[in-house]
Point group: D3
Chain length 311, copies 6
């Protein structure tokens, strides 16, 4: 079977040849930014918004990127095109960009980097990783590791420095390998999952942590718009676990799965039926927007493929 | 000319072939740890201590590393041996280890990573980057970016998530490209340079920020021992810029340059002659310990090679 | 079978009659302090130290207590004496004091309370709750709930306001009902278990969180003394989970079980054999001090009684 | 004279027999939550809202309560009914609920508690405690003790752990026994009185500390609604003493006294006439809502009863 | 040439005789508050608002001022009148008030101060200090010194305790003598320049740090009103450098220069053309409001006078 | 009677002529530092230490001072000499230095200040302000205002920006005009009085807040030395009010009164007899060191002069 292609510094190469030097600053220091989008029905969703956010991350970290956003979009489409036919039934593609500060002799000045490494790749949306939570609701746990504060590294930039998130996941998954983390900021306010934003419904309002502690999710922004169009008030602010323990519904939101209902926080049930009524309406509005029934698409993967044996 | 070799997942390969997949978690997430040592007179210095610290970083981040520390040491020597003859006169080698959580389909669970990527490489100590400060003293500047607090990511683990440090350097070097950063913690206490520890002398005592906000440097520990053997009291604690503005001497300390005298903090002179009297005695003790005159070695590189044209 | 007696405001009453008004401020506001000691071989251990700490808690909270410490000690012995014969084989007694601000019409001023409620009771040490961890080592988990900071309520006073600890336990036990919590302070430093202090061994030193974030345990103080008498350096300071992940041994310490080896932190093993070599020496020194083999005593309860069916 | 009755775990008992075991976790650990409502003209005010808040407190603390909110309301009315005739002229009733985690052998796991202790009682509103401030305005003082932060124990849950508040009151009343505390949070923002919310008027706006640092008072919410219905803008946010020193009016608000004008902060006068014009309009709107002239009712108690001799 | 006059404690004196005792608490302790206004076209701008803010500062610091605001306004006009004719062409006047706690034998109680020292003076707006940035845009730098938090000294009061600001300026100007500081608060949020507020434009919204960390500028409030009247949404909140690095425009705002476009933050360009389109519209609206073309007025001073030789 | 003289910018002038321009930055911005010493038996005490601390304050704030420390000492003696004969019986002199950044047209750059204003004055030690507390013990109160953190302005520099201290005193003295403030830092640790350091004795150890939150008192350092010479262990660290509520003795220490016993903290008695036994021994050692019985000297002023009528 033909391999997927990867854009790497101006060339399209097969996945197996998409390699970078161990002397690249992305490898040595995590001196890189990234972004991720996906397709629905094989059509990229909000591609330009993702590329613009990638460039905001570059600006914040002063990446020496020479490609314009337009060129980045063009190359992205060049990667998607040959990869799309390789998808299975009911599949869609994740689109992934990485920009590093390039290859540079170690211990040289950060100012001496003049050519970013640019990577664009795609791979199938990992439906089987989350499909069963679509109907059961995810188990969410707050780890003791706190989200890095903005004065050290702004959570709104998508920097390839995920160890803070990874430590949170390791702690949460040590007790329950299937649980999702919900990180708090250093003041104990709700922040985010390692790869998703968090929403909950309280007294009929849709609530979500304010932008200063979190990645400003494009899925998140879309859900806020959808909720408002449904006449639901949306509150962005500083919330704590108290709000979730006493909430009526909750869900996670990210590019990969769009909306994932939450069933528990730290072992305590959140709300009643999963998904809750507002979550259900938001999923329906989402489906209408993207032209895919995201729950049916996810569940179809549980039927089609046997679950991998857990090591 | 023959290339240096790199150890990469069990094989020795030429530098130009030392590449890893863009799907490695080290590339995609900065999900990696590293360490660095060097040789003096072509003999590795405190190799075992560095490897043990690397394993502490692995333990903290739960890297799925299978190599034992003994095997890591053995492979390190296998890299050093063929690379050493490639050094120029008065050169010495940096030794660099990187351990990533390996190649893993993106968005899969962190628990599904079972084989770390291990990289060992060497390259010449970049003497020309710092040699002139050996006698003039470095200019040090405190950036506004604060060091990530331990409750988010412990500074004592050498994690390949250096964007916090890099942002600090970018800020400092924007105003003075040759300046060194001195980061503060979120309470405003002195922390560290992006790649070095900080020391100063006040009222005859050698002072250095306490371990909880910084990388626990092996050079740092060696200097503390040397100072005590010279009869100088050493104080580890929480210090502020006030201490440095009123200090008698100051220096940076790291594997690369060992001891680098400091001339200024934020444009204000620190002490009088550079290096100051205690710094000078510590350099002499260091030279005796490692068997190299580190100042002479560094300066020899200024004489031998023309300075690169600055872009 | 005869009931145990309880001292209640000047009288000895049977347990079943040891009741207080629902209008007592201890019931309504948690406006109370407490302390706990135990016997070894039916002899009270450091009784006076516990009573003095109880009085420090009273002084901090300005409890209107009229009993002198001497009278408190005398009444304590009056409670212990008739209760001791009711103990089973290999049993010992917990001794528990509670002092509330007394009965007061609700919403009246705190200054209008002039007579404390004083309760002294005993009950058997609950060996079966912890005995199996004596040899296996306890599983310890850091909850996301942080320890109340001293500027709000000083952790050194034993105040009957344990909801902060209880929330931590609820969070930890939701994922693993047998796990022990290890709370962090609001800066992410190690603090304490909901009812015990924490120790670990790193590089041959016995380390324990500094007193400002924790209950100043009398068991803790005794262990520090024992360690020093064994020639082991003891360090009190600000530590993080990094220290424990890279530690050689760890244990919990409190009145109830004295010393309880720790096997894991957040699912990661701590050290090798449980108990570790220094922990073992401290247990031996403890046994010598109190005249009881605390491990054997605990294990004897596993043999004697069938484990209760878990609901 | 007949005694008032108390609901205690399913039974109605006379006050003097409303006692609980000293082994109840409410007594031993303050492991309890509570709520308080009152009557106006002998009619309970917003009873259901108070019961719902009580259940939110239960949910946050995972109290093993078996009563439904409906049953709780029914039992509450059963307590009120026989107690109401015992009130004096111009009196009204306070209604008080306490839910503890029940009787449990000490040092057993928090998970082994399966039956909450439930207490419902009433007692007359203590008008004489606050009546004179209704016209003179209360003296308010900021203590140095800070309000416990939400990441340790959420102020929005009414937990029977009031020592933080009590220490604040003790500090304030040591200098002025009649003063009311106004606690600040750990960032120095205005929080709340030990038993009341705080409001002030600045530049024509009604301002009150945001919900995250305080008990979400039902009186507070009602006042916000009344102010908005009067056309007054209401701002919830982070305020400091600067705001109050430069305010035009201020008042305290709680179930017991509804609205209590404030005359001073830390000895400095707040505004001019007491109550100020907006406060006066809010009191009038409140009176209309509850059908009682709260100022007249309070003052009538000063006339009817001689003031108690102060000890 | 005739001297300008100064109001000093009830008398108008020539500048050269406007002196106060070294025993004045303003000299010895910085125990003073101040405010500053200016004229446009020789007409005082928002004089009453500045005097009211001065009195708020007095109230916060309990200055023993006896003058009423009306008298203060009258005396201010008495100072302006004789000073105005001394202005050069295209000049305008700064108006400066200082109120100290008066002369008091040192180390006496702060309560024993009963007569404030009151100073009112004017001097020409220092156009040449900022004129060139009007068209080029200012270079702004974030120092490591953080803005004093409100719980220590409220930034909204104009207290003559500017060392925090001065340290920030010294740090910033050590690297670039012409740079303007942009201080952050202790959480890393944008606060203010040492003498000006900060604004930026992001996604078409005008953003400015919320009032709790900054001087509540009267110029700032006027700009907010102007922006709203232009139909531009204004957001006051907690922002970080990320917001500015990714902003479209930025400017400083204060009494002296009204609106000063910003060209760079920490060496990174902010937006494109200076001033940006919204900034330009705000300057035009400002000009219309005050009746002066502030850019032309400033630039005229560059043409009229040779730049001083820099020492 | 002849006036005392003041050193002012190179000249000795009579007190009544010791005036500075209202345009001096010390007046306008509090842009100044200061220090204070005193005489015992008319001999200056530790004059050089005070001058050196003054120069550390100058270095931290980059004051453009041209006088050398030797010249400063010489001029100080020139002021003392003529002033000494003006002292009354049993009097001693306070010596006060102020250094401002000089006269500078307002709103000009801080870099354009090249000549500091230097003031040296003396005045009699205000014995009557504190004498009665020498035997009764002072009443100490913790205000809600927190001490400015070092990252904003280092407490170790004596900057003429005392409003933070003054607000604390105003708050404390509003409730009790004779009380002394004891400020806490932003974490709630004990810091200092507005003009003195704080000491307490607990379990036989002399304890005092660590240097990072306080002025590094020269009296404080001397007391630490005296205590150690008496064989008393001294602990510098982070303490809270809990420590003082449970302490055996406490006292304040500063240049003016040397050692002032403390009787109460927030209305609660501290220890028993005042001064406590260790305080008494320290006073005796102090008396021996300075050659004056400080208690007798203070009390003599109560006898000699009638107490002023309190306004």
């Amino acid at each position: 079977m033909r391999e997927r292609v990867v854009y790497l510094n101006g060339r399209l190469v097969p996945e197996s040849q998409a390699v970078i030097s161990v002397f690249d600053r992305g490898v040595q220091w995590g001196d890189a930014v990234y972004d991720a989008a996906r397709t629905f029905n094989h059509r990229p969703f909000k591609l330009r918004e993702h590329i613009e956010r990638l460039y905001r991350s570059c600006r914040y970290t002063r990446m020496p990127i020479r490609l314009t956003p337009d060129a980045m979009e063009k190359h992205t489409l060049e990667v998607i095109e040959p990869n799309m036919p390789l998808l299975g039934p009911n599949d869609d593609d994740m689109i992934w960009w990485t920009v590093t500060r390039g290859v540079n002799p170690l211990t040289r000045s950060v100012l001496d980097c003049h050519e970013a490494t640019v990577i664009i790749c795609t791979f199938p949306v990992p439906f089987r990783a989350f499909a069963k939570w679509m109907t059961r609701g995810a188990r969410v746990v707050t780890p003791s590791v706190r989200r890095t504060p903005p004065q050290c590294l702004d959570p709104r930039a998508k920097v390839s420095n995920k160890m803070n998130h990874i430590l949170a996941d390791l702690e949460v998954k040590a007790a329950d390998p299937e649980a999702y983390s919900l990180m708090l900021d250093i003041h104990g306010n709700l922040a985010e999952n390692s790869g998703a934003n968090f929403f909950f419904v309280r007294q009929g309002q849709l609530c979500t942590p304010a932008a200063h502690n979190i990645l400003e999710g494009i899925t998140r922004a879309t859900i806020v718009e959808l909720a408002r169009s449904l006449g639901t008030p949306v509150v962005e602010g500083d919330f704590t676990v108290y709000d979730v323990y006493t909430a009526e519904e909750a869900f996670l939101a990210t590019t990969t799965y769009s909306i994932l209902p939450v069933a528990q926080l730290n072992g305590a049930p959140v709300g009643g039926k999963r998904p809750g009524p507002l979550t259900r309406r938001l999923i329906e509005a989402w489906n209408a927007l993207v032209g895919v029934d995201i729950v049916a698409q996810a569940l179809s993967h549980l039927e089609l493929e046997p679950l991998a044996v857990k090591r």
